[in-house]
């Protein structure tokens, strides 16, 4: 009987914590000593000290230079690694709970041009998926709608919040568009047909150009009595000088990618290409035009039957060598916990380790306009970071022990750990 009570006492806290209460504000200053700090800038500091207070990083340097007396809590992280919180671009975390169940999907609205659709107000802070993502070091996410030609607006959130209001760190920062495809496929899933050219390609591209012309005219016109909500949403793309919104375009084919860039230049719009599977073919062009990319997951198949079998694995290195700014990503919302391994895999195919860390920290932060606050371990920035016992980019050694968002130590329990403990306890007492 005593044993059973003991097991219940051990298990119940885990089950309760699977509710993941958001952490309270940082009350005491903290100094993490002795770890290898991967700054996110492309540099690392061995035997480092990272200090933070009131949610902000106050010290970044070597352990011997840190004033331990100035910090209330010292975390000894000798032999461990510290990273900035990883940032997951382009995903539907919190918008979709169960992929196959329609009632749980809020990622795809009906209709073709929906720039006014906003993901942030449909974002569910209490998704059961989110705690499983945080446990692998992903602490921020870009919540992104899909579907149609212009899908809607994305926002960036931190992953330890009570509601979408305190989750958001950059609201409505991007407008998402899927560029028309050169080729479409025929048939249906049981009888797949062949691929053929999209005969409507030119028409569809022209429709986009016309739409943007109208949106631009609306942005530049005197305010009228009749508001066009869709064009209102797009105003931020057309500001003179610094834009308040980025146009993210989903496009993979090399020729189409170049057309998107030329279109954006002509309209003076800040554009980021998403997917960009053929980027390796046009690195010079992308570099000349200073285009940033959110690239498809490393864990995908080559785009063509005769393409190098490791093309997706080595694309990050090719882009890095060409000096192109890119962020790594992964597709399904529950897969965001595998974002670190997209980086790890690229390292195995030549990408420099610290550049790989940068591709999941500072690079996405810059792309999403949150680099003043997040994305690297630098004094003045938010203390959004985590400690891993081993190399977090390798599943063999990944073990996130502690994580902080804005200096608040977050609860790393999740449903999976709780179920593990529950059944481990069952078998242990049998």
């Amino acid at each position: 009987m005593k044993k059973i009570i003991l097991y219940i006492l051990l298990v119940v806290p885990f089950l309760m914590n699977a509710q993941n209460t958001p952490a309270p504000k940082q009350s005491e200053s903290i100094l993490i000593i002795g770890a290898t700090a991967h700054l996110g800038t492309g540099e690392a500091i061995e035997n480092s000290a990272i200090g933070f207070e009131n949610g902000k990083i106050t010290f970044v340097g070597t352990a011997d230079k840190a004033d331990k007396t100035a910090f209330a809590t010292i975390i000894n992280a000798t032999g461990k690694d510290v990273y900035p919180g990883f940032i997951a671009p382009n995903n539907q975390l919190g918008l979709v709970e169960i992929e196959a169940v329609r009632a749980t999907r809020d990622d795809r609205e009906v209709g073709f041009f929906n720039p006014n659709i906003r993901s942030i107000i449909a974002y569910n802070t209490d998704s059961k998926v989110t705690p499983t993502i945080r446990s692998n070091g992903v602490l921020l996410s870009q919540i992104t709608p899909q579907g149609g030609r212009i899908s809607g607006q994305s926002s960036v959130v931190q992953l330890d919040a009570w509601n979408w209001e305190d989750a958001t760190v950059n609201t409505d920062e991007g407008i998402w568009m899927s560029w028309p495809r050169y080729y479409t496929w025929t048939g249906w899933w049981a009888e797949p047909g062949e691929i053929k050219m999209n005969d409507d390609y030119n028409e569809q591209v022209q429709a986009i150009k016309d739409y943007f012309k109208e949106a631009k005219a609306y942005a530049n016109a005197q305010p009228s009595d009749e508001k066009n909500l869709k064009f209102e949403a797009m105003k931020g793309l057309f500001l003179d000088g610094e834009k308040s919104k980025t146009l993210y375009v989903r496009v993979d084919f090399s020729k189409a990618m170049m057309e998107v860039v030329n279109f954006a230049k002509a309209e003076d719009i800040e554009v980021v290409l998403v997917g960009a599977n053929d980027a390796w073919m046009i690195t010079d062009f992308l570099k000349e035009n200073d285009i940033s990319l959110i690239i498809s997951q490393t864990h995908r198949l080559p785009s063509r039957e005769d393409e190098d079998v490791d093309m997706p694995f080595k694309t990050p290195k090719i882009l890095s060598d060409a000096g192109i700014n890119f962020a790594l990503s992964i597709n399904d919302m529950w897969q965001q916990r595998n974002l670190p391994f997209q980086a790890g895999h690229a390292v195995g195919y030549g990408l420099d380790y610290e550049k790989a860390v940068q591709a999941v920290t500072l690079n996405p932060a810059e792309i999403m306009g949150i680099e003043d606050t997040y994305g690297s371990l630098e004094t003045g920035k938010s203390a959004t970071l985590f400690i891993s016992k081993g190399d977090v980019l390798d599943m063999r050694t990944c073990e996130v022990e502690q994580a902080f968002i804005d200096g608040r130590e977050i609860d790393l329990n999740n449903k999976h750990k709780a179920l593990y403990e529950k059944f481990k306890a069952k078998y242990d007492r049998q």
């Binding site: 992929e99 169940v101 059961k128 080729y183 899933w189 993979d252 864990h299 063999r396």
Partner: protein
């Protein structure tokens, strides 16, 4: 002419040679464990010897210093290399159909997976039906014909499936009429078919001339008579338990539960019954029935004595099963040696081929892989992949092969341009893009622009 007639085909098919891999870290998967500075001799398609300071005159020597030598990865659940469809979804029992009739040896994914250290895969029927079709087991002998790829004298397997896919839960509003639409109905499909199979057996015995031969029933009888083995797509604990009971009632053992994402909840019962578990490492949240799926599933089943494998069910992931195995270290703290068996020895056991493959042991087939570093590391690359002592993938040759692909591509483009200039008839762009099958999603994979 290349073999196969596609990119990365061979102009001259590689042959069995004698190889001596020297001074590698060898993951034996046997009682010897992981051996450092060890040599492996391959001869006539078999592992001839494993030991230190081996010598073999006339052998091609490969320096394994700093590298790791393992047996080839075995994927228990694959849908590559199949022509024109994996689901005979018209009836809820299609035991008579055979994947072996539709194997496609030209699939580039075979080559891509060789580059990921995979040497054998079980090609499965999809999960549209409670009783699916007969599986095919192939070795990745790139360049061979479908018949030549089949694993000789292997036990026959058949695919069963439980849960949402067979209930057609996610097929849309037009699919609400085919029995079964609930898990309750699924059990009765098996009870009914096994009962009728025994009746058919009796009738055939009593009057073979007037009792019509039934290929579907023949297959079901093979299962009941323990001549064919079942691998069953399954998710929740209720249905897993159900099928084990059905099997026990009809006198056979359910060989493998595949996907088996709630296997951890009934691992003790699985071990008692004798069923194996071939799981995803960490997939979840894609359907209702996987809401309690946890990445610790493999480790928990393993702790209760279940033979656990990690599979792919996905052409992309199959290239990285070495990394998926590492997730058993990450989630559940398995030793590296035990985790590696999840993608080598354990699937071999589940497929009844562990007498021939699955470990680095003298006498077994030379299906081995030389890795650049610890195979469980995310940084690892397969450098050489052997099947039956034939070097089917060699990183050193890749550059030359890729150059050949580019040359051929350029030649074909030039030929087309010349033809066009010469006034020959043209047609709009067409492409029979290969289709990537899953049974977990019942959807097609990705296409390029």
């Amino acid at each position: 002419m290349t073999y196969p007639f596609t990119a990365f085909g061979w102009e001259n098919k590689p042959k069995q040679e004698t190889y001596l891999i020297k001074n590698a870290t060898v993951w034996t998967n046997e009682a010897d464990g992981i051996l450092e500075n060890t040599d492996v001799l391959v001869e006539a398609g078999k592992i001839k010897k494993v030991g230190k300071d081996l010598k073999a005159r006339g052998a091609i020597e490969i320096d394994g210093t700093g590298k790791h030598l393992t047996s080839g990865i075995i994927d228990e659940h694959s849908h590559i290399a199949i022509n024109r469809g994996v689901n005979e979804g018209t009836q809820y029992s299609s035991a008579e159909v055979r994947i072996g009739d539709v194997v496609n040896s030209d699939d580039i994914n075979i080559y891509r997976q060789l580059a990921g250290g995979v040497t054998t895969a079980q090609l499965l029927h999809g999960s549209a039906n409670p009783i699916g079709g007969q599986a095919a087991l192939i070795k990745f002998r790139w360049g061979a014909t479908p018949e030549q790829m089949k694993f000789e004298n292997a036990d026959g397997f058949i695919k069963f499936a439980l849960g949402e896919n067979v209930k057609q839960s996610n097929w849309g509003d037009n699919y609400r009429n085919r029995f079964p639409q609930t898990r309750m109905g699924v059990e009765q499909v098996y009870e009914d078919h096994f009962t009728r199979a025994r009746e058919y057996e009796a009738a055939r015995k009593a009057d073979p001339i007037n009792t019509r031969r039934d290929l579907e029933m023949d297959c079901l009888l093979e299962i009941l008579n323990k001549e064919r083995f079942v691998t069953c797509h399954s998710y929740v604990q209720s249905e897993i338990n159900m099928l084990m009971k059905v099997a026990e009632n009809h006198g056979f053992v359910l060989n493998t539960f595949t996907h088996i994402l709630e296997g951890y909840k009934v691992a003790d019962k699985m071990a008692k019954h004798g069923a194996g578990g071939s799981s995803f490492s960490d997939w979840w949240a894609y359907k209702s029935e996987v809401l309690d799926a946890i990445p610790y599933n493999g480790a928990l089943m393993h702790s209760q004595g279940v033979t656990v494998a990690f599979n792919s069910d996905d052409a992309e992931m199959a290239r990285r099963l070495n990394q998926e195995a590492a997730k058993a270290v990450m989630y559940g703290g398995l030793s590296e040696e035990e985790a590696w068996k999840f993608v080598t020895l354990n699937p071999a056991k589940l497929l009844h081929i562990d007498d021939r493959v699955g470990s680095v042991k003298a006498g077994k087939d030379a299906d081995i892989v030389l890795w650049s570093t610890n195979p469980l590391a995310v940084y690892a690359r397969a450098e050489k992949t052997f099947v039956d002592g034939v070097l089917y993938y060699d990183l050193e040759q890749e550059a030359a092969k890729r150059a050949a692909v580019q040359t051929e591509r350029a030649r074909l483009i030039q030929k087309m341009l010349d033809a066009k200039i010469g006034g020959e008839a043209t047609q709009p762009v067409r492409n029979n893009k290969q289709h990537l099958y899953h049974c977990g999603h019942l959807e097609l994979g990705s296409f390029m622009d």
